[in-house]
Symmetry: none
Subunit: 221 residues, 4 copies
């Protein structure tokens, strides 16, 4: 999530937050009082990731995170507003790298991006997290904004791959590349989260192949 670069974890959701917006020349003007323990952020994020994989989103409790991180509950509430913000930050704290393939070969780049999604472990995590976050986003508009920003970050590489190919003339200008991203990513998410249909390497290859045919990159058949 590029937009978080340079910001401390949780800086986007922390209540007092300050420093939002353009930094002034006083940006290094420290607030009085003991500064927040930066190590605590990492300990909390680590605990969240561990507990999520152990117990899933529903089984994750703030008490549990606090205990595992060796931190007081208040320290968590001082920095995040709730479970969802916490998990979303754990998700976006740069821990899950987004593949950014750019070999110039459209098909290879798409597969390089999507094939890792066939990994069973990654799927398990995503299935537990993404719908829960989306469910909460439906009710909390601030979380929704953060989720959409995260999703936007995740799709950006595919968007780039397709637009570059279009600029190279490999794809007809008439096609809307953003819709193509929606189709590909949507199909995979739909299978993972809602239909329960498998998403393995074969499925991904067939989806990519089909879309490439559809946008006229390779001849059908």
């Amino acid at each position: 999530m590029a937009s978080r670069a340079g910001a401390g974890p949780g800086a986007q959701t922390a209540v007092p937050a300050e420093g939002v917006g353009v930094e002034t020349k006083d940006e290094d003007r420290r607030r009085p009082g003991r500064p927040r323990n930066v190590g605590a952020d990492d300990a909390i994020m680590d605990a969240v990731v561990e507990l999520l994989t152990e117990f899933g989103f529903r089984g994750l409790t703030i008490d549990g995170v606090a205990h595992r991180a060796g931190v007081g509950k208040a320290t968590i509430y001082r920095r995040w507003e709730g479970k969802e913000q916490l998990v979303l930050d754990a998700l976006t704290a740069g821990r899950i790298p987004v593949p950014q393939p750019d070999t110039g070969n459209l098909r290879d780049d798409l597969l390089a991006y999507y094939l890792p999604l066939a990994d069973a472990e990654a799927q398990k995590g995503a299935v537990r997290l993404m719908p829960a976050l989306a469910a909460e986003a439906a009710v909390d508009s601030e979380l929704a904004a953060r989720l959409h920003a995260y999703v936007s970050d995740r799709r950006a590489p595919v968007s780039g791959i397709l637009h570059r190919a279009q600029r190279r003339g490999e794809i007809d200008e008439a096609f809307d590349m953003e819709l193509v991203v929606d189709l590909l990513t949507g199909a995979i998410m739909y299978r993972l989260y809602f239909s329960g249909a498998p998403v393995d390497e074969d499925v991904i290859e067939r989806l990519v192949a089909g879309v490439l045919i559809g946008i006229g990159v390779v001849p059908p058949g």
Copy 2:
């Protein structure tokens, strides 16, 4: 959800359940004791729908449903196993009809199916429910089965439209119609639930048009 036809609401999930499947000639074999108050089912379902739209899935409580429906909590637990089953049943209790267009015109049928999804009210409900159900399904395999069945029911009409067109020769046999359903439905769900991008009539028309071009039904450009 077609398979519920004829059964009382919740019959599939209620613990004693009996009477699953087609009723036999013994269908009038009553159990002793006071029969269930059939009106209560409707009151409960109505309360669920009302409270969902008011407070969202997270804000829905069994206590709240019981109070709103003028019903004891035990009456709800006697018929459903929990919040998720309850909501899923409210979702599938025949209240949201699935369009089953079959005019023989591929484009018109697809639009007849998908365009209603552009309705803002329907979207609001879906956004609040589907991710919450998917989140719970990630943890509860029985609910997952019920969700997948529901999703399967919802996609069946599109599947039918596409397969009929393929049988009529309008679509190349090489294309996998199920993947096409995944692409179309997935793109819409992805925008609704995760990316936050709008799903209006224009978007739906462009998605359908693009896919029809992609599968060679209409010439590009």
Copy 3:
């Protein structure tokens, strides 16, 4: 505490309480719903007494009581409004008998009443409880009323002893027996709770003897 006779424990402080005031002919009209578990009252009271003697008033926690009594915390809050009400009820639940001596011998009756207060264990409990209750009563007028009623119950026997002696002509009518109770009881409490001076059998005997001289029952010297 005579006024509690017949009432269930906590009946005076329980929030809904009903049944306050004169009972009507419908007094046996049960409220709907599951009745409160009467056994729980005893379990809670026992736990309170145990934990008080183990950890004192400050060390007593609602969680601790709930756990020790094998009861949910909500069950306690359903019946009492807080720690102080709970302790006061535990105190007055007929568990600490008030001596009611009435031999007709003024000195013996007074000693029979006061000498048990020299017991070290009883003192330890009283020192831990009474000031804490008085402190809370200073801020909570309802608790104050309950505390005053309890204190009034405790002093009643002495009052009776003295008034009976006065009626028998042993004490001059001019003396105010209530003030005499204040003097005797007050001196003991003052030593116990505030001055830290010992209250042993000797002190009690000297106090009683001095007061008897003072009110002219026995000749000085």
Copy 4:
């Protein structure tokens, strides 16, 4: 509390303490570093008194005192060991003068000492503080010692009045003057803190009169 004379406020409880007692010729031997802000003591004491009267002992928090006094929490903890010491110091910081009557007239001296206790405002303060301190003293032996010393200081003038009268031959040598103080002071405290009975000028006069009769100073009737 006479023994505090000359020492800075809180010097008795502050952890580093030093400088207890009369300053020596080395009194200007300053410790290195910034000296304590003497004004802070007053600000803290004022805040304690204000907050006590506003919210009572239970409602008094160290955070609240620090904020009201415009002082850091650590500054309070550097000088006192906790809430109770703080309150006890506020109580004894020379703010409530102890009457020291010595006219040679026993009855007048006793009334000069006790009648100010009939003041409603003074009673309100005392009722809120003394039982709370006694409650904490039951658990904290150091505080108990300080409380007993304070109480001893407060009773000293009455003790003096009575002993002087006894030495003048006005009171029979057989009576234990300390017990008489216990009786008088105890009766008043008992009424104030526990029985809820009023302590007005009339009650005090009757108590004093009764005791004077009792110890044979004035003839009964």
